[in-house]
Amino acid sequence: MSVLPLYYALLIGLALPLGLYMGRALDTHRPSVMDRLFGPLESFLMRLAGVDRRLSMTWSAYLLAVLRLHLLLIGLAWLVFMDQGVLPLNPDGIPGMRWDTALHTAVSFATNTNQQHYSGQTQLSYLSQTLAIVTLQFLTPATGLAVLLAITRTLLRRPVATNAGGGVGNYYVDLTRIVVRVLLPLSLIVALILVWQGVPATYQGAQRVTMLDGGALQVIPRGPVAPMVAIKQLGTNGGGWYGPNSTVPLENPTGLSNLIETIALLLIPVASLIAVGVISGRRRLMMGIGVVMIAFSLLTTTMIVVSERLPNAALVGLAVADSPNLEGKELRFGSDLSALWGSWTTQTSNGSVNAMHDSFNPLGGLGLLMDMFVNVTFGGIGVGLIGYLLYLMLAAFIGSLMIGRAPELFGKPLETREMRWISLAILAQPLIILGSTAITVAFPTLAGNSNPGFHGLSQVLYEYTSAFANNGSGFEGLGDATPWWNLTCVVALAVGRFLPMLVPLAVAGWLAGKRTAPQGRGSLAMESGAFVGLTAGVIVIVNLLGFLPALVLGPIAEQLTLP
C-alpha cells in the first residue's frame, strides 16, 4: 500500500547496529577499542578546555555544569546574533538581529528546539549559522544524551548503585565522547551523501543568476548548507539553513536525500534506547519502552497519513477533489512522505519540515499536536527517554501501591520529595502551554494571527506546544517576531527543556543514596506487560486529560465544522 513500513524497517535496521555501537562506545565503565581510536582527539579537546577527565561529578555538580555551560552558550550566541553585522564571515552584509529575536534564537538553539522567528538564509550571517547555530546543534543533543547516560549510570545500571556520595559521571567527558564518537562521524556520512545529492556546501556568498525570462537578477542564498542539514536532522535540532527548511530543494533535493533526512530524524533517538539497554543491562525494560514508543508512533503516524490522504476541504466539490491534501506539500514527495516526515519530526522534537504543517488537514494537525504533547515517542535525543522515565516514575508510584508496597522505583523508595519534583515537572507542561496560549488569545493584538477561529487557536497552541516540547516546527501564520512572542517562548523553551531533563537526574541522584530492595516475586515487575501498559496509560491519561479541551476547541472543532 505504501512505502511507509519500509521506512520503519529501515529505521530499525539502522538503529540496531548504531545502538549497539553507542552502547559500547559511550560506556565509561568499560574500556573499548573506540578509546584508542578516539582517545587522542578527546584528550586533546579536554586538555584544551581544561577538563579533569578523571573527576566524577555528583548529580548536583553534573546538573550545575549543564546549566552553567548553557548559560554561557546562550550568552555567547545572543551576542553573536546581535552583532553579526560587524563580525566576520558575513559576505552578504546581513545586519544584526533585534535583541529579543536574538535572545529567542539563542535560547531556542541552546534548548535543542530550533524554533525560528526569523528566516535563516536572509537574517543570519555565515558566522551566526556555523559558529553559533551549528555549535549548539552539536552540543544540545549531546547534552541530552549525556544527562541520559548520567541517569543510566545512577538509576538504571545493574547491579544498582548504592553509594550515596558517588559520582554520576563527568559532564564534559560525556559531552566530548558523544560529539566525537557519535555525532561527528554520523554527520560527516550524512553530509557527504547530501552533497552528492546536490545540497550546497560552500563559504562563498549568494549565487546571483540572471533569469532567462527578461534578464531579471535572482539572488540564491547558499553557504555550508549540507553539514548543517546533516546535524539538523540527526540531532533532533530542526533549524534549517533556509527558512522553509527541508521543503527547499537546496536542503532536500531528491528522493534519496528525503529518505536519508527522514531516517535521520529518528535514528539516534531509537538507537539511544538500545544503547541504554546495553549499558544498563536492562534490555527487557528497554524493549517494553520501545514497544510503547513504536505503538504511539504507529498510532499518530497512521492518523496523520490517513488524514493527509483525504482531500483538502477547500477543494471539495471541485474536479480535483479526488487527490490527497497537497496544499503546502512538495509534489515531489506527495502526501504520504510529507505526513510521515511531519509525524516523525514532531515525535522526536526535531521540528524540521518537508511540508507546511499549517496546511495539514485538521486531524493531521491534531496528530502533530498529540505527538508534541506526549513528546516521549522516542522524543529528543536523550531527553525523550528521560521524559519517558518521568512517566515511568509516576507509573511505578501507582503500580507499587497497587501491589501493596510503599511506592518504589527499581527497589528504591519514592517519597514525598521525589514526588514533589516529579509532579512539578509534569505540572509545568499544561501550566506553560495552556497559560501562555490563554493569555495570548485573550489579547488578540499579541497573537497577530493570520487566521481567526479554531485554526487561529490551533496556531497559537501549536507555537507554545512546539516551544515547550523543544520541537521547533511551527504552524506559522503568526506574526511571531515580536517581543511578546519571543519572550514568552523563551520561558516555554527553557522550562520545557531543563525541568523535565534535570528532575529525573535529581531523582536518580536522591534514589542512589537510598536502600535498594532486592527484586523478587513481591516487587514491581517493570518489564511485565501489565506495567508497560500502566505506563502507556499514564502517558495517555496525563496528556489526554490535560489537553483535550484545547484540542477540542482547536483541530477537533475545525474538523467537525468542515463543510
Binding site: 501507582i398 508496597r405 514525598t416 496560549t437 490563554a438 513481591g522 506495567f531 467537525l560
Partner: protein, 693 residues
C-alpha cells in the same frame, strides 16, 4: 487464600474465636453511627480548617461557593439558569458532605473500639506509693515512674511493668480474651495494661507512661481525623493528587479565554462542574477514610500501632524474622510416635507410656496420653504411686504395690536404670534413639522393670495451616526466616516441615540484631516479633518491630507495634493489613483517574454544543440535553463516593499472588473497570433525570 477482611485471617481456630469475640465486642459498643450524628459530623467538617487538610475537597468546596454565588445572581437576574445552578450547587455540596461522612464513619468505628476503654479507665483509682506510705489518686494523674500497688480484684490503673509479685490477670478489656494470663516480675511476661483486672495476689507496678501517652491514647490518636498524622506514602500520594487538581484547575481556567477566542461563551456553573468531575474527588474524598480504616483494621486484629507509618510499612516487608516457638510450632512438644524395640508388642509400649503419663500435667505428658488414645488404647486407671519427674533422676513413672516399676525418661537415664536392674539393652535401641533425634524430635525411653520397651518421639508440632501461610507469603515475595535456639538438626527438620525459606539454629538474642542488620544492608525491610528485654534492640532495629503485650516494658517501648493478644502469628496479619491499606489507596487512585475519560465525554460536548452544534458529534453517549449531561456527570461523581465508602472502610481483598499477577488483576478491575463503568452509569442517570431537563 489469605483474606484480610478486618478481623485477621480465618484459617485457624484461635483466630476464628478471636473474630467471633471481636464481633461481639463491636456489637456491644454500637459501631453503627446514627444518621443524625453522621450528618452533624459531616456538617461540622465543613469548617475551613478541616477542609484545608484535604486540597481536593477544598477545591470542590470553593467550587460550591462559586456556584452558590452564581445561583444567587441568576435568581436575581431571573435569567432562567437559576434552577440548574441551584441543583449543581446542591450536588457539589453533597459531594463534599459525602467525603466528610466517609471520614466521620471511619473515625466513629475506630473510636468506638477505643472509646469504651478510655471511659472505664477515667474512673480508675490507684494506690500510689509515697515515702510515707500510699495514697489514693485518680489513675489519670499517674505519671511515668510512679509506683502503684494493685491487689486482687482491682483494675490495673496504668500501663506499666511489674516490679514485685506475680498474679493472674484478666485482659479481656483489652484483648477480648477472657482466659486469665500469668504476669510475673522479672520474667519476659512482666508488662501490664491499664484497664485489665488482677484476679489473684498482689503486685507492685511501676507506671511506664505519662498521661496521654499510653497505648490507648496513641491508638485513639491514629483514628482521629483532625489530629491524625498522614503516613509517608499518603503524603506522597497527596502531593500527586494536589498536582492533578492543579492541572485541572489550569485546564478549566484557561478554557475561558480559549473558548472566547473561538466565539464560545462558557457558563461558570458548567465550568465548575467540569472541574469537579475532573479532579480526583473519589480518591481525594476517601483518602482520609482509607487511612483511618487501615488503622482501625489493625486495631481490630488487636494490633496497636504507635504510628500510622508502622501499619503502612508492614505492607512492604521483605523478610519476616520468626521465632520458632509459639510462631511456627505450638510452643510445646507433642508425642508423635511410639517406637517399640524389636520383640516388644507396640500395644504394651503404648499402654505403659500412657499410664505413666496419666498423672503428668505437662503438655508433653498429656500429648502422650492423647496419642495412645488416638491409636485406639482404652486406658484403665491402675493402682500405683506416682514417681514424679526430678531433674536429678531425669525419669518419672509409677511404682506398683507388688514391686513392679514403670519408668519413662531421658534415654541414657533409662538405659542406665535397666542395666543396673540386670536387663539388657535391645540391639536396635541405640538406632531408634538416633533416628528420632535425627528427625528433630526428642526421644523419651520407656522401661518396664528391667525390660526396655521402646522410645516415644516428642516432636515440635507445626501450627496447623502455618505451612500454607508461608507458601502464600512466598507467593507474595515475602521471605521467612526462622530463629531458634535448637540444634541445627532439629532446626532443619522444623524448617523443612514448615516451609520457611531459611533458618538460624542455636541463635542467641544478640544474633537477631545482627541478622536484621544484614538483611537491611541487602536492602530488605525486616519485621520481627519479640517479648523479652533482650529482644528490645532488635525490635528497635527492625523496620516493623512487633512486641507482645505480655512482654517486658523495654520490648514494648522499642517496638513500633504491640500485639494485645501476644500471638506471634500476628506478624503475618500485620503484613496483610499493611498491604491492604496501600492497595486500597492505589486502586481508588487508578479508578478515580480512569473515570475522568467518561466524564469528559459527557461534559465537554455539553459545554460547547450550544455554541458550536457540530461539537455535539463528540457526545458518544447521546445524552438528553447539555444540562442533563452535566448533571448526570456530577451526580455520578458525587454518588461514587458513598458507593465506595464500604469498600474504603473494608479495604481491597488481598490475594496471595505474585506482584505481577496482583498488578494485572488490580489494573483490570480498577483501571479498565474505572474506564468503562462510568459510561453506562452516566447514561443511566441521564435516562432517569433527562425528562426533567
Amino acid at each position: 487464600m489469605p483474606r484480610v477482611d478486618g478481623n485477621g485471617m480465618g484459617e485457624n481456630g484461635i483466630e476464628e474465636r478471636e473474630m467471633a469475640m471481636m464481633q461481639a465486642h463491636d456489637a456491644s459498643q454500637g459501631l453503627r453511627i446514627r444518621p443524625l450524628t453522621l450528618l452533624a459530623e459531616s456538617l461540622r467538617r465543613l469548617n475551613p480548617r478541616s477542609l484545608a487538610r484535604n486540597p481536593v475537597m477544598a477545591v470542590v468546596a470553593i467550587g460550591t461557593l462559586v456556584c452558590a454565588m452564581y445561583t444567587g445572581m441568576a435568581f436575581a437576574e431571573a435569567s432562567g439558569q437559576g434552577i440548574f445552578a441551584l441543583i449543581v450547587t446542591l450536588i457539589l455540596l453533597a459531594t463534599v458532605l459525602f467525603a466528610n461522612a466517609a471520614e466521620a464513619m471511619a473515625e466513629a468505628r475506630g473510636k468506638a473500639h477505643a472509646g469504651s476503654l478510655r471511659a472505664t479507665r477515667g474512673e480508675l483509682q490507684a494506690r500510689r506509693l509515697t515515702r510515707s506510705g500510699e495514697e489514693r489518686v485518680a489513675a489519670d494523674r499517674l505519671r511515668r515512674g510512679d509506683r502503684v500497688r494493685v491487689v486482687a480484684g482491682e483494675l490495673i490503673p496504668a500501663d506499666g511493668e511489674i516490679l514485685e509479685g506475680a498474679g493472674s490477670i484478666n485482659e479481656s478489656a483489652v484483648t477480648g480474651e477472657s482466659a486469665p494470663v500469668l504476669r510475673e516480675a522479672g520474667t519476659d511476661n512482666s508488662g501490664v495494661s491499664a484497664g485489665t483486672k488482677l484476679l489473684s495476689d498482689e503486685l507492685l507496678v511501676e507506671v511506664s507512661v505519662d498521661p496521654g501517652d499510653s497505648l490507648l491514647d496513641r491508638m485513639i490518636a491514629l483514628v482521629e481525623g483532625a489530629s491524625r498524622q498522614k503516613t509517608p506514602s499518603e503524603l506522597a500520594l497527596s502531593v500527586l493528587l494536589s498536582t492533578l487538581t492543579l492541572i485541572f484547575l489550569i485546564v478549566v481556567v484557561t478554557l475561558v479565554p480559549l473558548a472566547q477566542f473561538v466565539g464560545i461563551s462558557t457558563s461558570p456553573v458548567m465550568l465548575v462542574a467540569l472541574l469537579v468531575c475532573l479532579i480526583p474527588t473519589t480518591i481525594g474524598g476517601l483518602l482520609p477514610a482509607i487511612g483511618i480504616a487501615g488503622m482501625e483494621r489493625a486495631m481490630r486484629a488487636n494490633l496497636v500501632a504507635k504510628s500510622g507509618k508502622a501499619v503502612e510499612i508492614a505492607g512492604s516487608i521483605d523478610t519476616l524474622l520468626l521465632d520458632k516457638t509459639g510462631t511456627i510450632t505450638l510452643g510445646d512438644r507433642r508425642a508423635t510416635e511410639f517406637a517399640a524395640c524389636h520383640g516388644v508388642d507396640p500395644a504394651r509400649l503404648r499402654q505403659v507410656a500412657a499410664l505413666c503419663s496419666l498423672e503428668d500435667p505437662t503438655p508433653e505428658g498429656r500429648s502422650i496420653v492423647a496419642l495412645a488414645r488416638a491409636q485406639g488404647d482404652e486406658l484403665v486407671a491402675v493402682e500405683a504411686s506416682v514417681v514424679p519427674f526430678s531433674a536429678a533422676s531425669r525419669v518419672s513413672g509409677l511404682d506398683f504395690a507388688d514391686g513392679r516399676c514403670w519408668r519413662k525418661g531421658a534415654p541414657n537415664a533409662i538405659a542406665r536404670r535397666v542395666q543396673e536392674a540386670g536387663g539388657r539393652l535391645p540391639a536396635d535401641y541405640e538406632a531408634l534413639v538416633e533416628r528420632i533425634s535425627r528427625h528433630g524430635a526428642t526421644p523419651l525411653a520407656v522401661a518396664e522393670g528391667a525390660r526396655l520397651l521402646g522410645v516415644i518421639a516428642l516432636a515440635d508440632v507445626i501450627k496447623p495451616g502455618i505451612a500454607e501461610r508461608f507458601a502464600q507469603l512466598r507467593q507474595m515475595g515475602v521471605k521467612t526466616l526462622m530463629i531458634t535456639g535448637d540444634n541445627p538438626i532439629t532446626a532443619a527438620a522444623i524448617a523443612a516441615e514448615a516451609g520457611v525459606d531459611d533458618y538460624v539454629a542455636e541463635a542467641t538474642p544478640e544474633q537477631k540484631l545482627e541478622l536484621i542488620r544484614a538483611e537491611q544492608a541487602a536492602g530488605r525491610l525486616v519485621a520481627m516479633m519479640g517479648d523479652g528485654t533482650n529482644d528490645a534492640p532488635a525490635l528497635a532495629q527492625a523496620d516493623l518491630g512487633l512486641a507482645m503485650n505480655s512482654g517486658t516494658q523495654a520490648a514494648r517501648e522499642a517496638a513500633n507495634m504491640v500485639d494485645l493478644d501476644s500471638d506471634p502469628g500476628k506478624l503475618l496479619s500485620a503484613v496483610e493489613i499493611g498491604k491492604q491499606l496501600l492497595i486500597t489507596r492505589g486502586a481508588l487512585t487508578t479508578f478515580s483517574l480512569a473515570n475522568d475519560v467518561a466524564k469528559y465525554f459527557a461534559i465537554l460536548p455539553a459545554i460547547f454544543a450550544a455554541s458550536v452544534p457540530a461539537l455535539g458529534g463528540l457526545d458518544l453517549l447521546a445524552l438528553h440535553s447539555p444540562q442533563s449531561a452535566v448533571l448526570s456527570a456530577v451526580i455520578f461523581n458525587a454518588l461514587v463516593i458513598p458507593a465506595l465508602i464500604p469498600f474504603a472502610l473494608r479495604g481491597v481483598r488481598v490475594h496471595a499472588a505474585s506482584a505481577s499477577a496482583m498488578l494485572r488483576r488490580n489494573l483490570l478491575i480498577y483501571g479498565l473497570g474505572g474506564l468503562l463503568l462510568p459510561f453506562p452509569a452516566i447514561k443511566l442517570i441521564d435516562l432517569l433525570i433527562g425528562p426533567l431537563f
